[in-house]
Symmetry: D2
């Protein structure tokens, strides 16, 4: 095992304390020790989701599971769902809709790098009654960030439930569940939450819970029905064990540690750190003459950046050169595959990480035959980082 | 963190190597290192499931998720399903059937401790065409073990898919997927597999895969559809990454280590060890005058034992006394709650563990006011263990 | 790595928390985090040594280093030293004396299992002026425990410095530095202190420090001179770093955790636990017809027991059978080699450990051809352990 | 525990595998598993020391202990020792000489940053018969590197034993024991060896062993006498256990892992990596207008660099600013205290580490009021690192 930097948009590097916790001897899921830790995790998760009245769920699974749980607990067959997509992950919502016989209205951004406009959304929701509107806060394929706050302002005026896929955003991007009118917020452990993969994390607002209560049919999956999990989460938050499925105890110990570290830093500080490091990175790559995928600075995510390769750079060659330099970055996805690389900068990312990444990008581009003025990207980043 | 013995029917104690692996620095799910380890895990899982032609799946989730995946990939709405239940977990299959509009025929054992008879099963499958027959190999609530081999012999003659819930059995009880005609075998990581909780593990036989191929409707869940996972598993087994949902990399490193240890011991040796340790435990509790839940020795599981309390012993008092003695055991479930306690003896369990448990049971019973001849249970266990 | 029981007289099994601490990322020895932890360790070590006025030292090294540090800081060439030995480790003090030109009076117990009598000691110290008297609290080769309290009562009336080698005793056997008049107490991390090997631990009383102050010659070693270490220990206890040699930071993090656990249990409770578990073990082996090395119960240590093999049992065969049973025990030392085996029961040892050990001894003896009534030793142990 | 960079001249950051090994459950020092690992470690240590005929020793302790062991095993009271010092650590050899009544000829470099000249050494050894000549390969206080190869060439022509203190050099700087005529090479685990502190590591050449054999008096310390350790090392190398003092098993598992990683990289590669990273760092600080302590490039060490502060920068303020930036550097030592800071770049150091350090230095200097052109140091470093 070499010391290397994992700069992909998830899974992300964890702190030593988080890794330490995950290797504790296994304890019983009904032990007093675990009860306390699970209860704490749920309470802290509410703080990180910035919700007071929301109900939170921690389930063994992945972000995709969380997406499906969000939709099936809110919608019933025949319901209309508006899907806003600035990349690839809206497509996933659409697939889920198909399986559950929901009528998906799929609104895709014009092209990679653009963002569905507010006016387009207004037009849509005026034209039809939606049971739910979904949006991917940050689409990891394009690194485009949706205007969740503005969308919330519009959707809360309708009957629709606002579902935000925060997989590549929560705990990195500013995201205020209660204030912004988010009804279902979902994410996974391995992104800005800073825990190894294996946990689906969700919160449902009072409005979302109410709508669940008015269902005519049961949720058409057993494992995905929040009703089965609600008692479990309530019990643990009240200091009592309860059983539906064996909770992933070691991952939950790790989750609790990471949430503690997140809250110790403070969410506002954390948003600021992500913003500044992301800006430093964008300034750096721009100063090197590279183009990023998002068209506008306001669309550019603070958790991940997708960058177009300069003419003539081979994706595989570049990334294997980066690996040789000790920095792991991700390739492009979907239509951007081969034409872009992606750098994750979320969770515990710090100035050292981003500077080392920029430095490796400079050298790797040089080695793959690009004209690069060594130090240029670094200088641009330094000018931003000095504000930290 | 004290050194204590976790003797519950899951999650179980892990070896130091498994715990060491789970705390490795997170790596990319597309790194060559992970690709190799994931591919290895899948190949080894086939060996542990004792299948050559089966397709295996490793998914972030729990045993319940695996149960639902089994049913929804085999059945379509309107299909008949026969559920054989010797405890509580058949009920769970029934709930899943309801959600997916499958017609469940629920065959429960007469009372806790008995086992649905082969003749009853024959009667059932002669009377109706079933798409699937499910059985819980070991029901953790009663510690009753179903005659999976015999059931397989009968069901393979029909068109029904034989689904075995091996959650409390696989890698502890003798269980030969190919030989015994099991079509879907499912389990979870935290039982006899010896890994912390968080992974659902499944295998589908050729027959099960064929039936999937003949479906008229798509699987009514996205995350649960094996079709989405098949390419991922195939790719990793062929040394290439593929993406559907971020695999729980750290848990999979741990899984690989545990599977390696399982195969190094050898499955036949492992079955023998489980059988002998379980027998030692049963002999011990019987010699102490206690009754176990299974009516017949042949029903008694080798992975867990449910024991009736003697008159006058309070469940909570006894178990907290056990904890004070450094041994964690589980309480009863369902109708047996308060009247029984359960001891898990699976995975890495060894003679030291079971002897220490019996010793603690003797002392704890004494302290809760029972008449106990100290050493009697231990002596009985020793006579069995000397054969190891 | 198998789960097995390490029942040797050091190194001993550590708690998961201690092992967790030792694998923390390395920190600077002048970081505020380490300063606090080192300071805490020193303060806690004083409590565990039961001294208020003593000066404590934590040095990378072993017990033998601690023995040599004890002697060379107290004595100067030509000084008389009385060495009381109930086994092999007094010999080690004698070797050290030779190197430093100290006149060693070597008082050996009559034979393995006996203990130098108080009257013999009185006779000795009346006849000659000693600069120091050394005693091995528990000699790990014979498992004989010296009457340190009584010896302290006698020696404190003389000018001699009372040096106690607590390597196999401290934090397991009752041992009260200030109350019993111990002037130099030394031990190593890997015994009842419960930390992996690598640390020499010492305390010097005011009397010992005074005598250092009156030296005519400098200590004839640089690394071993307490003067070089005193400022370091003082500084860290006062919240400031100081440098003589790089402190073994990871081991000291582990030490701090173990000392915290020791004090959380409470020393009196800990002495009681060791005494009861040792008694259970002795009763067990005696009831099996085996003989232990110490002649009298009052000599028998609570941290280790040396047992004679019954006729016909081969040391290697027996111990490899024990290993196969998952319990590691030690062979004999010196004249007892081949004729005895030794079981360590110190540190975090609990009833489960000792019961499992006795059970393995019963089975291993049976397999090596002895007449053993299975369960007999266990029954005897149970009768003692029920008092815990 | 934050993710931060520990860039001090020891202890250094360890790889995850090394940290993983150190937290293994403790095993017996006579277990077959440990025997194999200890034997392997010793064989690998010979390779890292680049000696075939030398005898190696691994002892719980620190570098200072190793220095004392080197001298006392070679010299006897009255012997002449020539000490070459380019900083502070020669002084330590002098103190050791005093304790053991050796006549120390102390040859100090003219001023901090200069290096004792070859001609001065030639003059010295022509004028007097020395039993030993000691040199600090890299003096961590000045970051001056001695010309060990040249010195070896001269000293091997005399009867003197050439003792090289490689504490801040071995496994980072080019250092060829057999080829260069080094007779005693010593280091500690926590420097370029890449293991947490706690181990003293030494090798003695045939010449040194011969001289030991001709001693008139025994070594005047018991713990430090190589004779006591020789059998232990020989035994373990021959697959058999042997006891003198309990070996620090967990540290030795870690050592074995690190030595494996060192040899997998290859020593020549490793020297090259250290040289290039060190050069990058020196170019960076020089381009920022800072002065390093070594007068000439050829004196400048590849493992550590001492840099003078620019006018007006407060040591404490600067280093606490660096810590805030997530990079830990060391202060100055001795006469350079307050006027210099030191950066360690050895062991597992990689381009990411050094770039992040330079970046933090730029920003920290700016914040402490210096005139800094952000990016200038980074650019200079990049031009060097591109050769890697």
């Amino acid at each position: 095992m070499k010391r290397e930097l994992l700069m992909i948009p998830g899974p992300v590097m964890c702190t030593p304390s988080v890794l330490g916790e995950i290797s504790r001897p296994v304890v019983s899921h009904v032990s007093s020790e675990f009860i306390e830790v699970f209860g704490d995790s749920l309470r802290k998760l509410k703080q990180v989701f910035m919700t007071e009245s929301g109900e939170v769920f921690v389930v063994a699974g992945s972000g995709t599971l969380a997406m499906e749980m969000a939709l099936v607990n809110v919608c019933e067959p025949g319901d209309n769902v508006l899907i806003l997509s600035n990349g690839l992950f809206g497509e996933r919502f659409r697939e889920i809709c198909m399986r559950h016989k929901l009528n998906a209205d799929y609104q895709q951004a014009e092209k990679p790098g653009s963002c569905v406009s507010i006016s387009k959304v207004e037009e849509k929701i005026e034209g039809k009654e939606y049971k739910a509107v979904t949006v991917t806060h940050v689409d990891t394929s394009t690194s485009v960030k949706a205007p969740v706050k503005e969308l919330g302002g519009i959707i809360r005026k309708t009957n629709a439930v606002f579902i935000v896929d925060g997989v590549c955003a929560t705990a990195g991007e500013e995201e205020r569940m209660d204030n912004w009118g988010i009804d279902v917020l979902l994410t996974a452990s391995q992104k800005a939450i800073g825990v190894p993969p294996g946990l689906a994390l969700l919160a449902f607002s009072e409005k979302a819970v109410e709508i669940y209560g008015e269902r005519k049919n049961p949720v058409d999956s057993y494992f995905l029905d929040t009703q089965n999990w609600r008692n479990v989460m309530d019990s643990y938050m009240n200091g009592k064990p309860s059983y539906f499925a064996t909770p992933p105890v070691n991952l939950i110990f790790a989750l609790n540690t990471s949430l503690t570290e997140i809250l110790r830093e403070g969410l506002e500080e954390r948003f600021k750190r992500h913003a500044l490091i992301a800006q430093a990175f964008r300034e750096a790559v721009k100063s090197m003459g590279l183009n990023i995928v998002p068209f506008k600075e306001e669309y550019a995510a603070n958790t991940v950046t997708a960058i177009y390769y300069p003419e003539g750079v081979e994706d595989k060659v570049f990334r294997s050169e980066m690996r040789r330099e000790g920095v792991i970055v991700a390739g492009g996805l979907g239509p951007l595959k081969g034409r872009t690389f992606r750098v994750g900068h979320m969770g515990n990312v710090n100035p050292s990480d981003i500077i080392a990444t920029i430095s490796a990008v400079e050298r790797a581009l040089l080695k793959t035959g690009c004209q690069v003025t060594l130090g240029q990207g670094l200088e641009a980043a330094q000018r931003v980082l000095k504000e930290l």
